[in-house]
Assembly symmetry: C2
Homo-oligomer: 252 residues x 2
DNA sequence: CGACACGTTGAGATATATCAAACGTGGTGG
DNA sequence: CCACCACGTTTGATATATCTCAACGTGTCG
């Protein structure tokens, strides 16, 4: 059912693998918006697949300093890093109401023993996370505020496009300007001014949790965005730059 | 020989696992300082273990913008992410003269099939990298310049201590102020002023590639450094905070 | 209607970048 | 041995990006 469905979006799983993963689910969970799903340091024994909604992974300092280190969309595992690590170094929280599927680590261990091919795909997902982390470091360390926002919006558009949650130009993004600030290492006040600049330059608007990209090429140029690091399928990238709407394939 | 040796430092490998990894080495390589080891986008078929020297992993933008995303020390794999990814999203270069051991991906594949326990330890290494990436994001996004340097120096001290390359207070760090700037998302001019501040506050000095931490507790406090995200052994962390010199164990 | 969360704007403060120059210092060639 | 150069460090003056503090607007929900 739901798991099978959500795993179709990315083109990485075979039908058989989707079935194995679905069979490994021990439990389904739901959370309200803005709930804490996992607290840093807690030891964990399950992996969590996001079925619906958006999840944030963030590092908190004292003084209420918060840095988002990842935003997860449906089809993503939110804490797969916890399988080799045993406990997480950061917090996980819901941005919207979410539905999750829970897979116990011991079932992943079983999968690892019986199906190394599938194991390597799970490993792959965690290193793609790491690749995205690296781009975020570049963004935080070397881009100006307006470029950081531009880059993040391009990235989000591409990722959501790949799972059918963006048509290539518009998508729902349930983040406040405070959240965007925590993504980009800025204050919410400055995010507000930068969003105005993006609007005035005719690149992009965001109102009521809904993003519309008016000039994707211009936004990509401004944010120095190149999608390679997302490790999406070539055809997705092509359709995205062509502005076509993505069709979900029936099998991988 | 060399591989066996360098893998002893971290306490993660059993003697047998070290032997398996050593047997998987197909080749040894050396590079001069400041050489390019791997270029972004190149497809790769081998994993590389660093035996001697320091390696940088960095993302380059146009305009010569560079952001270091990791610094690797002996015992680290420099491109293990490339095994699931097939091609890397970033560049790898030597900071000093380096010696490397090369393990073909097909041997890792063999290991993955025959030894899932060892496979999970390799996976573990890549997700520890990701955990460090996340802390670097926090550093870049939410800490001030002086805190970023303080945090990086604490981190480096801890990591080098764990492999016997720091006595807990002093270590060789072959980075210029330009490199430190690329680590911390700053300019080299500002790094210079911040290093002076650290010196004047009696926290830390760095001359001729050699770091001396004068007040580790103070430096940790300033940089909000907590070593949990490094996933070091508890006893290493204890000895580090106690200021003891680390002994290398004979077996893991 | 009031309370609350979020967005918007302004004025002024501060951290960091930029540009420019001088200063070691170790190596190299004459 | 000196002259010179390449490279990294140090310092100063000024520019700019971003933050901070404060206020006000706007929509939603009970």
């Amino acid at each position: 059912m739901a798991v099978e469905q959500v795993l179709r979006s990315r083109n990485v799983w075979t039908r058989e693998e989707r079935a194995i993963l679905e069979a490994a689910v021990s439990e389904y969970r739901s959370f309200d918006a803005r709930a804490t799903i996992l607290r840093r340091g807690a030891s964990i024994e399950v992996a969590t697949l996001l079925l619906e909604g958006f999840v944030s992974r963030h590092v908190d300092g004292r003084d209420g300093l918060r840095q988002l280190v990842a935003m997860q969309a449906p089809g993503d595992f939110v804490d797969l890093h916890g399988y080799p690590l045993k406990s997480l170094d950061h917090d996980v929280g819901s941005l919207t109401p979410v539905k999750l599927a829970v897979i116990p680590h011991w079932k992943l261990w079983q999968i690892q023993n019986e199906n190394p091919d599938l194991a390597r795909k799970l490993w792959f997902l965690t290193v793609v996370d790491a690749a995205i982390h690296r781009k975020w470091m570049f963004r935080l360390g070397r881009l100006k505020a307006v470029q950081r926002l531009a880059h993040f919006l391009c990235e989000t558009n591409a990722r959501l496009f790949a799972i059918g949650l963006s048509d290539g130009r518009r998508f729902a993004l349930p983040l406040t300007q405070f959240d965007l600030a925590d993504v980009c290492g800025l204050t919410s006040v400055h995010v507000n001014r930068v969003m105005r600049e993006l609007r005035e330059r005719g690149l992009c608007t965001m109102r009521a949790g809904s993003v519309e990209i008016l000039d994707f090429a211009g936004l990509m140029r401004l944010g120095a965005f190149e999608p390679g690091y997302l490790y999406l399928n070539d055809d997705v990238v092509k359709r995205l730059s062509a502005g076509e709407k993505m069709e979900l394939s029936e099998d991988g």
